[in-house]
Symmetry: none
Subunit: 149 residues, 2 copies
């Protein structure tokens, strides 16, 4: 299970080192990188990506507007990427820019169960701050849910 929050920097060739703790959790050297919901990138092992993309593509038609939205925001931006011999992935410029990640900038890498999230460090700080109230609410709801069990 992927876990952990790490801060690594993107080099001037748009490469990002994946922490070795996370690397050992994913089987092969191929991952799927795409735009996430919110201002971040998602990084999936291939089988996990297949689950997501199948459920978007499966029940859908290019003639439905919600399908097209999901296809354009999630499916289309996706890229296969290889982990190089030093454990880095190379982030295509279009994807990097969509998450406001800068060359030579600090990135946050989150391990979340079966996938990873990549954030620009400032964008992530902003996100956490903006959503503090929502987080408190969510925590309350979770508390109620748990006390019922």
């Amino acid at each position: 299970m992927l876990m952990g929050e790490y801060h690594n920097s993107i080099d001037d060739k748009s490469r990002l080192l994946l922490p070795s703790r996370l690397r050992t959790e994913v089987a092969g050297s191929t991952l799927i990188l795409t735009r996430g919901v919110d201002k971040c990138l998602w990084l999936f092992p291939p089988e996990e990506w297949r689950r997501i993309s199948d459920s978007i593509m499966g029940s859908s038609s290019m003639f439905k507007s919600k399908t097209r939205l999901l296809q354009r925001r999630i499916i289309a931006p996706a890229q296969e990427c290889e982990i190089d011999k030093s454990g880095r992935i190379s982030i295509p410029p279009t994807l990097r820019e969509s998450a406001e990640m800068k060359l030579k900038g600090e990135a946050v890498i989150l391990g979340i169960d079966s996938y990873m999230e990549l954030w620009d460090i400032d964008a992530y700080a902003d996100y956490l701050q903006e959503s503090e109230t929502d987080f408190m609410e969510a925590a309350e709801e979770l508390g109620e849910l748990l006390s019922l069990q």
Copy 2:
């Protein structure tokens, strides 16, 4: 499977380079270009185009107004186009203008499973912004779908 979001520019001869990653996925050098739903162009491999056009023409009659609309918006504007030796297609001016794409302007190329979408970069940014709320909704629904599996 076609995947990826790319930004290339249209040159002053109305030519657009198709990213090599997408080119390798389509078999031949002939593609069908037509107007898409929303302010974009659709680019199909011939067999995929046949599927779409058959399904529009098949279930329909020229004496139904909605059929005529689909025929006029999707079927009629379609053009065959060839990929040249440098991997570019030449976009006919009428189609280019229907998607607000400018000479020497930046275009967004989306790979979506079995076809491609072409957008003017500003028009695409506008589209994404306008549909942000819908996207969040669609993402929530997708989340519920996935958690049931």
